[in-house]
């Protein structure tokens, strides 16, 4: 478990003070995959580095399994770091050493016996799918392969926490997918808690359980990925969500909504989980004598839960439409008129 308590980080350069972190409170539960997203300069990088004290918080505490490691001796801090693996955007492998040696490095530092190292390295190479590459050097590998080596190295000391610093940002979409699959496997098979930072909402949607949105060193929104994606509150969060959810209305439709005179109101309908399976449209159409015209929509899956989003034009008596809305809302389906939403 990782707990951030009122963590602030201020850099002083000359007379200028830069507040990278402005009071962060977050809890990452054991076994979770927690994603922190933000634009560059939001403080993500500082935040993840306070966990293993690559950066010391200026004020506030970071607790690892309940312990504030910043109070420990240098030696104890190094021991704790062995329990926290870390992977990086640019992999940070030793180019002068073989793949085998790179993965063995954390074990060499801990003076592990050679036989034990060889056994562990083979096991890890097998796990990340690079069993035949042990004798190669990093510059002979692709980006995705290098990240797999980075992951294997990070797992060598059997950590309970894995920190991912923009781990897929230097990779193409396909490779990103395979690395994310690997991270998910690590989380499931070894029950390793993962804290990742990224600027790609796709990464959050793909593997995270929870998400925090960071802006100017503050958490502006946090919650389960499902909650945040289906009901983003803050403008920045909405921008991130739109970047992957593809629920932005096409221009032609926006024009149509703008010219709508109100005789046939347009609604946005959001339904999730159980409500997806319901034939609500044909039901209200029948019950309330309405014609429903779907203008736009998509149904996708988030965290294994189906999630739909439709833009529907209602045509019929206004009194009937009001009754229909009430009936739809009773079924746990969110519905709201689009004028207020489109802007």
């Amino acid at each position: 478990m990782i707990q951030f308590e009122a963590v602030k980080k201020t850099y002083v350069s000359g007379k200028q003070q830069v507040h990278a972190l402005n009071g962060i409170d977050l809890t990452v539960e054991t076994g979770e995959i927690y994603g922190v997203i933000g634009f560059s300069g939001a403080g993500k990088s500082s935040l993840i580095r306070t966990v293993n004290l690559l950066e010391r918080p200026s004020t506030g505490r970071v607790l690892i399994h309940g312990e504030d490691i910043s109070t420990l001796s240098a030696r104890k801090i190094r021991d704790t770091r062995k329990d926290i693996g870390m992977i990086f955007q640019h992999f940070n492998l030793l180019n002068s050493k073989t793949v085998h040696h790179n993965i063995a490095m954390p074990l060499l530092l801990a003076k592990t016996p050679k036989a034990e190292i060889d056994r562990k390295v083979s096991e890890l190479l097998e796990f990340v799918g690079l069993a035949d590459q042990a004798k190669k050097y990093p510059d002979q590998l692709s980006g995705g392969q290098k990240q797999r080596i980075g992951i294997a190295r990070a797992l060598a000391t059997n950590p309970s926490i894995l920190l991912c610093d923009e781990a897929t940002s230097a990779l193409d979409p396909q490779t990103t997918q395979s690395i994310l699959d690997l991270l998910r496997r690590i989380n499931k098979e070894y029950n390793i808690t993962i804290l990742l930072i990224t600027h790609e909402m796709g990464v959050i949607r793909e593997i995270c359980d929870k998400v925090a949105v960071l802006e100017e060193g503050r958490v502006i929104e946090q919650g389960s990925v499902f909650e945040v994606f289906t009901n983003p509150q803050h403008a920045t969060t909405k921008r991130f969500v739109r970047s992957v959810m593809n629920d932005e209305l096409p221009d032609s439709l926006l024009e149509q909504i703008r010219q709508n005179d109100g005789t046939r109101p347009i609604y946005r309908v959001q339904f999730t989980g159980d409500s997806v399976g319901q034939p609500f449209m044909s039901r209200v159409s029948r019950e309330f004598q309405l014609d429903l015209n779907v203008l736009f929509g998509n149904i996708t899956e988030l965290q294994g839960i189906p999630y739909g989003n439709l833009i529907v034009e209602f045509d019929g008596a206004h009194s009937e439409i009001d009754l229909a809305l009430a009936s739809i809302r009773k079924d746990n389906i969110q519905i709201e008129e689009v004028q207020q939403y489109a802007g």
């Binding site: 021991d79 640019h90 002068s96």
Partner: protein
């Protein structure tokens, strides 16, 4: 030609001896200083402004004195260390004072080329400062370090030729006493030719070794 083969061989030996011995001593001084210059700088492993500033200034002072002047200036010190201020062994002292700080700078340069991310990764996996220096920084910089030290050796061969001025012997001494002062052009050409071959050889070996250690 006013010199015979044995004199040339002796001079060659003296040059090799001065260069070799002063290189070894200079490395002993320059390597730790070079490492300190890197790790004590701002934001690095063992940040220490006082140590960095003192080293930085002292090294600059030594680097700014021309070798020919340095040689004369530290004669009293040479006397204390070697017991005499004349001869090949005496020449090694100023050579070390000349090359030590030079090597420190060269090593500093090579080590600074190592990707900061590698150091960060080392810290993240719980490496101690000593482990980071010897298991990450130096191995990653080794290829570049070898080339830097090759430059130092070539510089030392050149500087050792000046040691003739304090009776240090060596090829430079031979070239000056016979080639220049006694107008023996042949000796002059011969010593220059030997020095050229020597430098070419050192550089080739350095290049080869640098490639060899790129992957270890």
């Amino acid at each position: 030609m006013q010199v015979d083969q044995s004199q040339i061989l002796e001079a060659l030996w003296e040059t090799l001896y001065m260069t070799g011995a002063s290189f070894v001593f200079s490395l002993f001084i320059g390597l730790p200083l070079g490492i300190l210059l890197v790790v004590t700088r701002k934001g690095h492993l063992l940040e220490n402004e006082a140590v960095f500033n003192v080293l930085n200034i002292v090294i600059n002072i030594f680097r700014s004195v021309p070798f020919i002047i340095l040689m004369v200036a530290i004669i009293p010190l040479t006397r204390i260390i070697v017991g005499t201020s004349i001869g090949t062994a005496a020449a090694i002292v100023p050579l070390v004072f000349y090359a030590g700080p030079y090597i420190a700078r060269l090593i500093e340069n090579s080590l600074l080329e190592v990707d900061k991310g590698v150091i960060e990764a080392a810290q993240a996996m719980g490496a101690s400062p000593g482990q980071i220096i010897f298991r990450f920084l130096i191995p990653e910089a080794l290829s570049s370090l070898v080339l830097a030290l090759t430059i130092a050796i070539v510089g030392l061969i050149g500087a050792s030729a000046m040691a003739g001025a304090i009776g240090g012997g060596g090829l430079g001494d031979l070239a000056i006493t016979y080639g220049y002062q006694r107008f023996d052009t042949l000796v002059m050409l011969l010593t220059v030719a030997i020095l050229v071959v020597l430098v070419q050889g050192v550089q080739s070996v350095g290049n080869l070794m640098s490639r060899r250690v790129r992957r270890s």
